[in-house]
Amino acid sequence: MIDGVFWTALALVFEPQTLMVGLAAAMFGLFVGAVPGLSATMAVALLIPVTFFMPPVPALVAVVMTTAMAIFAGDIPSVLLRIPGTPASAAYTDDAFAMTKRGQGELAMGICLVTSAIGGLFGAVVLVLLAPILADFAIRFSSFEYFWLVLLGLTCAVFVCHGNMIKGTVSLLLGLFIATIGLDPLAGFPRFTFEVRDLYSGLPFIATMVGMFAVSEILRTVTALGQPLEVVKHQFGNVFAGVWRVLRRYHWNMWRGNAIGTAIGILPGAGADIAAWISYSVGKRFSRTPETFGKGSEEGLVDAGAANNAAVAGAWVPALVFGIPGDSVTAIVIGMLFLKGLQPGPMIFDNSPVETTALFIAFFVANLALLPIGWLAIKASGYTLSIPRAYLMPIILLFCMVGSFAVNNDPFAILVMLVMGVVAFLMMENDIPIAPAILGMVLGDQLEKTFLTSLMKVDGEVSRLIERPIAAWLAAITVIIWAMMLWSAWRQWRAAKTRA
């Protein structure tokens, strides 16, 4: 493996100019990731015009650095303010913030940082060693397999609900309802649009998410301004203290999170956000203490934190091998690859050995650099807590508005953000959790699309949805999980009845 090509690539990555680009991209990624409403996808979209003027290697380094940093940085406002910086951090925001309230802010930060770095490295190793084989497997997934996979993911939503099951279901249904707004994905028939053109493309996802997490939190802070701060006020001490203990205890969760994250990243169309949700719910399902999830569970942080950064590298697998994007970031990257004369395809590793090797090196460098750079970012961000919330919140609101607008340069998105913020505020005041609604939005759209296209392909014969072997396996797993859930519910009901 280590030959002339490797050293050439290494030299290219470590050229002073490339390193400078990487550092600048890292700062940019940290900023975009940490600002609620600005996502990793947007960071890369903004980066593309700049990379036009660069040779291929610095351009690739810039993209890899930006995404790795942005996905981690999304955790910072989660820990500090209970506002996820990017959708990929949404799954475990409650846990991260609960830890801060307990005075374990630096431990939460440390777990997020270290699991992000390890997840990223894990994904990179898989990318280097197995890219062609895994891409070959993932490309065989048709709408049938995705349908069962999404159904499996939605089943997981039940595990994401903390506390009251009925309220969690209400939230999930709200999310599924929101997913139906707009032109229906197949026939283009308008639903719940009331002839408003802005609603034709549905509620903008980023704006809705930002509204539900950030604006609602701002409203909560405003209504509680008179009361003393609930946040434990202190600068961050040693971020890495205690992380080793947690990781040793939950090492199995971490590897599982890495594997789930990479796998979901490789599947076309699903990225870091879905990876974090699924890994978190799987973690809760198999946890010995599922009741702590959502209330500051270290285990939940490890599960999800390990998954989202692993998905970033995974998404490059089908993008490089087949030119098929693994997530929304690589969808943009593919255009850049062509522009730089790197033709995606199974031959890319033979045709452009130096560039692809440099890309691999960039992944390792980015995730190792994440540790010191992320540590500095955490240190700096600690000061946010000492800013009076009365000044901090308007600034955050401003960033949220900019972020929502910038996705599609659409002022309507700001309105959506504000309205959904009020909706989420009312939900929180009534103890209805927000997370299931977001998951419903993410998966509802996919569920409808994959179910209907599959039915069209089999001329409406539902039984043929399990015709294909992988689909049949996924269906079997789904049904078994449902049966297990019904069984345990029935046992609980019987136990309650016998007691009575």
Binding site: A45, I48, P49, F52, I139, R140, F141, S142, S143, F144, E145, L183, P185, L186, A187, G188, R197, Y200, S201, G202, P268, G269, V321, F322, G323, I324, P325, A331, I332, V333, I334, G335, M336, F338, L339, G341, Q343, P344, G345, P346, M347, N408, N409, D410, T453, M456, K457, D459, R468
Partner: protein
């Protein structure tokens, strides 16, 4: 003291600018960034053309040309944004073949008449792609199979009533086969349609042959024909529909640079001239070669006539398919 000087300067400057405002605003074009609106996603074919062109225009005019995505609503959002922008030369955009289709489907009232055409950016010929393990070796095999079993073999590659849907429907129609004999399975675009083709979910993807080039080279899909009058230079081994089955059906998507109606004629003319110069240069050719696109230029007048013809042709196919609502 300092402040006063500054104020005095500003007043003087604004008087100078204000007096001949109308004349100087046009003569000075461009003196601030020009927005290029793209109605389709970042990284796709339209975006690729727009970004490459914006970069080269930027150098030509020594003025920023900023690409802005306005996606969604099957292209309605972005196309409306271009048409409704102020016609001052500071907003232009990529108008695609869908401008002659969306209004037939009742999605919008916009037509090509609502724009000031600048130049054609490219013609994108449709191809007929099947999976590498498909039993069909030629277009005739495929057409025979569809004729023998109407409704059995599914096709995909864009939304319902999208350009590639019309491509296959028009081809079948021209062979006296029901246009819906290869039922359409909507997808988000050619990339997801092609992936589904490789995965065995659908049988035919009649998307642009350039969009399939990666999977063609990887040996995962086969192109049975291109829907053009003569073979596409980048794919010399792929026969035309005429050669393969004798039908005269052709289908090319187009993408063009247009401005809102009412944009000053001299601005349009200067942009058109710059685009022409760029498309004759080596950089454009190189960028198009990289993705298997051709180089096709048409000036403003020619484009207007072409887009109008395209509008009529697709209206006809959509009526035959029963998806025209107006």
């Amino acid at each position: 003291m300092k402040r006063r000087t500054f104020l005095g300067g500003t007043v003087a400057a604004s008087t100078v600018v204000a007096a001949p405002a109308v004349v100087s605003a046009q003569a000075a074009w461009p003196n601030r960034p020009v927005q290029v609106i793209v109605p389709w996603g970042a990284g796709g074919g339209t975006d690729y053309h727009a970004r490459t062109m914006a970069t080269l225009l930027e150098r030509e005019f020594r003025n920023p040309f900023t690409v802005v995505q306005r996606t969604g609503g099957s292209g309605v959002v972005g196309h409306s944004a271009i048409a409704e922008a102020a016609p001052d030369g500071y907003t232009i955009g990529t108008v695609t073949v869908e401008i002659g289709m969306m209004h037939w489907a009742g999605l919008t009232k916009l037509t090509v008449a609502d724009y000031a055409p600048i130049s054609l950016l490219n013609l994108i010929p449709a191809g007929v792609q099947v999976a590498a393990n498909s039993p069909w070796r030629t277009l005739k095999d495929m057409v025979d199979a569809v004729r023998a079993n109407p409704g059995r073999h599914k096709s995909s590659g864009t939304g319902q009533g999208g350009i590639w849907h019309l491509a296959i429907a028009g081809l079948l129609n021209s062979m006296q086969i029901r246009p819906d004999a290869a039922p359409w399975v909507p997808s988000e675009g050619a990339a997801s349609g092609l992936q589904d083709l490789v995965a065995g979910g659908v049988d035919i993807v009649p998307c642009a042959i350039a969009e399939a080039s990666t999977l063609l080279r990887a040996g995962r899909v086969r192109s049975l024909a291109v829907m053009t009058a003569s073979r596409v230079p980048a794919f010399p081994d792929v026969p035309t529909v005429k050669e393969a089955v004798g039908s005269d059906w052709t289908c090319e998507s187009f993408l063009s640079l247009m401005a809102p109606k009412g944009t000053p004629a001299d601005v349009v003319a200067r942009l058109d001239a710059a685009v022409k110069k760029i498309m004759e240069g080596p950089e454009w050719k190189q960028a198009m070669d990289a993705r298997g696109f051709g180089v096709n230029y048409m000036g403003a007048g020619q484009l207007q006539a072409f887009a109008t013809r395209s509008n009529e042709a697709f209206g006809g196919v959509m009526r035959a398919l029963g998806i025209a609502r107006t």
